[in-house]
Point group: C2
Chain length 408, copies 2
């Protein structure tokens, strides 16, 4: 057996090297090789990689999530820059369904693992974040650690597995096709070999209903996301999600902060509880999603009509501007990691991802309130956690995510 | 907290009881309650539950699999009959996207867990099989154990986890929407509470490419299923898949035998191997899927041109009629159960399901040959296994899967 590891040089060569890197886009020849035909592929199958913000934040949720985290294994700052450059080239190819690298020789490992061939863009987005540990002494970045990028405090009821938590760099891959999301992380891990090593992954799925269309449901059977922030509301996004120049880390302007929580649900207990108990837990009706005291899902919430320990009331007390400024942009996915009676039954839950301008006054404030009193706590257990600074998008073709920090 | 367990009586009552049971179909009122509108829902979203064979065998593969297995916890044969009757009622409702049971009281646990509300049929199929252990002394069925339902022999290289293998009854749920497949097994487990307990589950996904459309790829990056049996070939199905009256168990006529194998793939080793090595392992070209010596995916295989230890050559030696009669109907799904360096990296592989008339001369013969010599063995490990007799379909409305055995 011949063993070879794909090299970043191979990727850059295969992708047309500097030409692609400088152009910041896939060449027509590469697009043709990938079968990309913009006349027959609906534009929404391809999510652009460039702009003020990274994709995958305000992008409407795709059906599949693969959240992942990497540990940096190199000690050289230069290698980190090259890693991020290589990932950018790779991400731009993945986004249009183009293979990573060509096969120059039968004696080499294929440049692309191949399982997503023919899948097209499938609305893939890849979103990169930097964990607190990236700002330790290794790469001279300590002075640039953004004040909002705190280490999350311990919350009451946490049952975190450190091997499934944290990490130096997060990669959130979302796509409407599962194999495309799986392929993206696997092949980015290959591209990063020698500089970064996969630490953990967490899959998830979101299946909005079809009749009638509307808000998807979580594995507790409740509509989830009814009161989420509106990602098309630019004013609200600027206020609650996007980092601003005055936030203490100029290089993060246009970026945001990502919190990941793996929230396991005690399915057997929940399924045995009464409808009354379930609805009281949320403060909403299960079937319609309407808040207590109202009739329709999107009717205004009157907190006074909700049980004091209900999840909806505690998550957002709706006390005016202070509550409004606390709100986070959630990107929640269900996970169903199987049933195994030897380890406690259903390993089901919520792969919770939230974006915000400052976790200190947003996620942490909300979660401290929930951890103290939420009726839902009886049925949940947070088993993994992470917080990451998500740099702004790539504004200049040829640049890369993280350049504002590492190559300003 | 009030705790209640949904009862089978509740399900039967909610479903209209005897009326639905006898009619063998969902009433117009139930269909309306579920939002079913046959004029606007394409018929192919709903797979019928009745016929000579169970659905989910020759049904074209849906995108998502949830394979599962149950242990019978009752000691009474009567309870097993009631379990299967209740499951049949439930399956007929699930197939059209109707909820299981109505909520009669806020003090009761909901009849349906609710997470699949509004999803419609989503091409759900539920396929039931009986494991060898169902024919032990407990239910007086020993004399009816079909001769083809053997205990699978140990194969070289097996690394089976007994807690993820076997079981008294298998339920294969397939749907184009993941939450529908997950919901089906979870709610069937609830319906069966007191008589059967979930033993294990294994998820899977199949994403056929879109440009051009065609055969899907496995996680090794190769097209998988090119040479599968054609499920529309009735003559071949009768010969290789469907149990016949002379096969030693008349109650199985129109049924088939299901073999499940969880085949873990050593992804890191595979991804580091050369294209040459990968192609030699299969005897096919990775990109096109064409067999060695040919140009196109569906060109005939000339075994003499394939490496002697290649997977394609050993799986089907193509030596004439004997080889033809060995062939199995595969229903293969990829699984990607995450990355966890503490347990060895990627837990990726193939959730292999195959249907056949007689595992003794089909799966076992093939697998013994593969286990001895297949070049692919370097990259695989069978971590779970099961074999089940899949009874014929429900021919009479009001009957149930397994009636030919338990209520003839």
């Amino acid at each position: 057996m011949t063993k070879h590891v794909v090299s970043r040089r191979q990727l850059l060569t295969a992708a047309g090297g500097a030409a692609v890197l400088l152009a910041g886009q896939v060449s027509p020849a590469d697009a043709a090789a990938a079968g990309v035909d913009r006349q027959t592929d609906p534009a929404d199958l391809i999510v652009g990689c460039h702009g003020e913000h990274q994709s995958g934040i305000v992008t409407p949720a795709q059906r599949h999530l693969l959240m992942s985290s990497f540990d940096i294994t190199t000690t050289r700052r230069h290698d980190v820059v090259e890693l991020l450059r290589s990932w950018q080239v790779a991400i731009e190819r993945l986004a249009v369904g183009a293979p990573l690298g060509r096969n120059h020789s039968l004696n080499d490992a294929p440049g692309d693992t191949g399982e997503a061939a023919g899948q097209g863009g499938a609305r893939l987005t890849v979103t990169i974040g930097f964990g607190p540990s990236l700002f330790d002494g290794r790469f001279g970045l300590a002075a640039h650690r953004p004040p909002p990028l705190i280490d999350l405090p311990a919350f009451a009821g946490d049952a975190l597995d450190p091997t499934r938590s944290g990490g130096d760099i997060s990669i959130q891959a979302c796509s409407d096709t599962r194999i495309v999301a799986e392929h993206a992380v696997r092949d980015l891990a290959r591209v990063g070999a020698g500089a970064a090593k996969l630490r953990w992954t967490q899959g998830g799925f979101a299946d909005p209903p079809v009749r009638p269309p509307g808000t998807g449901r979580n594995l507790l059977g409740f509509k989830d996301g009814t009161a989420n922030l509106d990602p098309t509301d630019a004013v609200r996004m600027a206020r609650n999600v996007w980092a601003a120049p005055g936030d203490g880390a100029p290089w993060m302007t246009g970026g945001t902060y990502q919190v990941f929580r793996r929230v396991r649900l005690k399915i057997e207990d929940w399924d045995a509880s009464s409808l009354d108990e379930q609805q009281d837990t949320f403060g909403r009706f299960k079937s319609s999603g309407a808040p207590y005291g109202a009739t329709n899902e999107f009717d205004p919430v009157n907190s006074a009509l909700l049980p004091t320990d209900s999840h909806v009331r505690l998550a957002n007390p709706r006390t005016g501007e202070a509550s409004e400024d606390e709100r986070i942009l959630r990107r929640g996915y269900n996970f169903a990691d199987g049933y195994d009676p030897t380890t406690g039954g259903y390993d089901f839950g919520l792969a919770f991802i939230a974006y915000q301008r400052d976790p200190r006054r947003q996620f942490v404030t909300i979660q401290q309130r929930l951890a103290a009193s939420d009726a839902l706590n009886e049925y949940t257990s947070h088993t993994a956690s992470g917080v990451f600074a998500v740099p702004p998008g790539v504004r200049r073709p040829g640049s890369f995510v993280g350049a504002t920090l590492l190559d300003p």
